[in-house]
């Protein structure tokens, strides 16, 4: 066991952990933030994606000892009210089904646009290929990303409005 001081969502956390403990389990089991998900444990599915200094990393395969002074952002730290433009796009296109992979999808998509604000369809597919979704929401994920990156190419919304009230 060793002691680590890591910065998550702007807050410093002093944790004691095995040095090979992946960041994912520090975030989930020690710090207690559950929005970052465990899917495969081998960086094959992307459910555990967080940002390390604005770059998407698979936290299930990043030992806590490798984090150092890097700033970690999880889904809980992406926006105050769940209203980051990417989250709003996810809401607009009604992306999630079971929802388990979606926080990782959103974190990966946000990091993509930070490094490449206007990706082509092919660049989106390449950047998102490490994020699995067994519900098969890929088409809506892509539509949501396009709507943020290149609003003029945003696929038409065919989903109903959220705010209609009962008569």
């Amino acid at each position: 066991m060793a002691k680590y001081s890591i910065q998550v969502n702007g807050t410093r956390h002093d944790v004691e952990a095995l040095e090979d403990m992946p960041l994912l389990w520090v975030i989930r089991d020690i710090i207690g933030l559950k929005g970052t998900k465990f899917g495969c444990g081998k960086a094959l599915c992307g459910a555990c994606t967080v940002h390390l200094d604005d770059v998407a990393v698979r936290s299930c395969s990043l030992p806590v000892s490798a984090v150092g002074e890097g700033k970690i952002t999880t889904i809980e730290g992406l926006s105050e009210k769940g209203d980051h433009p990417m989250q709003q796009a996810w809401e607009n296109y009604v992306v999630p089904q079971c929802g388990y992979c979606q926080t990782g999808q959103i974190m990966n998509a946000v990091a993509l646009l930070k490094s490449n604000p206007h990706p082509s369809d092919q660049q989106i597919e390449e950047a998102m290929q490490g994020n699995l979704c067994r519900c098969g929401t890929y088409n809506r994920i892509k539509a949501a990303i396009v709507s943020v990156a290149s609003p003029e190419k945003a696929p038409a919304l065919v989903v109903p409005e959220r705010n209609h009230s009962s008569k």
């Binding site: 095995l18 899917g39 094959l44 009604v94 979606q102 959103i106 209609h164 009962s166 008569k167």
Partner: protein
Amino acid sequence: MSEVLNSSRRNFLKAGAVLGSGLLISFTVPGAKKLAGAGGASMVGPQSGAAFAPNAYLHITADNQILVYLAHAEMGQGIWTTLSMMIADELDVDVNKMVVQHGDAWKPYNHTLFGIQITGGSSTTYSEFERYRKAGATARMLLVEAAAKKFGVSPSACTTANGIVTAGNKTATYGELASEAATLTAPADVPLKDPKDWKYIGKGVKRLDTPAKINGTAKFGMDVQFPGLLTATVLHAPVFGAKVKSVDAAKAKAIPGVKQVVQIPTGVAVLADNYWAAKKGRAALKVEWDLGSGVQVDSTAMMAKYKQLAKTPGAPAAKGGNVDTGMSKAVKTVEAVYTFPYLAHAPMEPLNVTIELKDGKCEIWCGTQMPGMDQDAAAKVLGLKPEQVRVNTVFLGGGFGRRATPASDFVKEAAEIVKASGKPLVKMVWAREDDVKGGFYRPAFVHNVKVGLNADGMPVAWSHNIVGQSIMEGTLFAAMIKDGIDAASVEGVADSPYLAAVPDKLVTLHSPKNEVPVLWWRSVGHTHTAMAMEAMIDELAHAVGKDPLAYRQELLKDHPRHLAALNLAAEKAGWGKPLAAGRFRGIAVHESFLSYVAHVVEISLNSDGTIKVHKVVSAIDCGLAVNPDGVRAQIESGINFGVSGALLGEISLEKGRVQQGNFNDYVVSRMFDTPAEIEVHIVENGGKMGGVGEPGVPPVAPAIANAYFSATGKRLRDLPFNKAILKA
């Protein structure tokens, strides 16, 4: 066999088809009552403390909260929203302001048709359409009555909207009326709204669970956490059915954070402060196994055996005339063998269960499709009565059938850990490898089909032998197997519309057994039967020089709902119109779970000859589409699930060992495998309601195989297709 017998056989299979897919219609299940989560009887249901609790599905608090309790589990299919819409429309409240939660394991939540508490068979929406609307309508009637009393007017002078009752210039919120309404007696029956007055149903709303699922607050089983909770991993046997011979846990116990190592019937469990310590502890275990007979399972040899077996008839599942005579009179015959591997469900959330055992009471938190049976299973392991076990269903990170095991395998395993360790609070977590190697697969199947055609090119004799493990066999549902036929193995063939007009036919089934546990996988028997039927129909069309769409239209002329879906998909896809160079189309239509789905796919070939699907134009007839965007989402989902299974998916075994372990070798579709364009069209004909979660899957594989034939002149008959292409 006479027509009468034939038709009753078909009817039985119709019921069986629904059953296989989701489970049984209760009147067909001997002993269903015993299975029905018996413990629920003496439990009290949701303890909301709400002032007005008119039924198990809807409570209203004095501060005007509308609480909805779901009889079914949300696993992505959208019923969190759909069931709430039904209540909101009758109750006249804003659906977005309802507080929705899963109901406990409790008898009032038993399936209205299947008699046990289950989410499956794509049946939630149609099976709850009356119960949930009535729950809302009854509450509204009592609230109006309470308001009328309060205002001193007659109920007919009151109107309702947005959770408020109004009469003239007097108003009261539902919350203000809740205590008074609670004193009134609900009428035995209440009228339901005229469909023209629906605000939500048929028009649709955005999913209510989206906000929680995009900000990280949605609670899945994996996210359950309590102070003092220990996390457990299990070292499972390397071979199905193997038993622990000896355990050396010294090194495991030396890992910091590991608290205990216990032997359980399914392996060896390591309990630790957190998952990482439990996983490291498991890796440090030295276990010797008594491998047993499971070591003999080899999927390649098994498929060779299945193919031999498929040459001979098994137990009859559907029969008419004399197939040998019919075949001898045919002017042309077409024969084909189709093979299907084992498939894992691989939901994104690995299986997990949290159990607390305290003061003779047990509480379970789990993403499950069958909470009642899990309740019974856990009670049995822990020596409790079912009513001493409370099951809290949390969001399911995907189900696809895996979280509905008649054996309650994962809940039972967690209970065994609690029992063996004596620890009061344990969360069992499976790694991805446990899931992929853990069995409960879609069974491997072989279909051997031979069809005789008359001079007009129409099928007049149909011989069809199916070989594959039974899903029901050895489970509490085994009583469903009639005369050697597990309906879940033959649904989609034995009741196929194509066979209805064939005078001489024989569909048979072999159900070999082995140690590999099998289970329903999204769309169950239809995962293979639709491929065998729709690929064969395409082969027949080409054998007699007819257009595949025109041939189907002719064969399905007495099946209007198949035809409507087929024609709509074909029209929207521009069937027959020229395509870009290198693009090819295929078509298929199939009924499952009481809905009718047709797909037209457009493919091209990659440089290595494998298939790339570019576009799918789909049409579904599910009767009333309660939430149309939800229907579209489910068909999109089914298409992607189908593409994944058709092109990529395979579980294989050598010397009893599953050869795949994670997403590197159990390959599932990624964004670049997904058809860039998916169009879903909903047939509106007011027909009987059907399901939408599964019916999008079955026609995918045959539509792709048929497109591949257009591209290459070659037939794909072995799944997964891309492997078959690379091997050829």
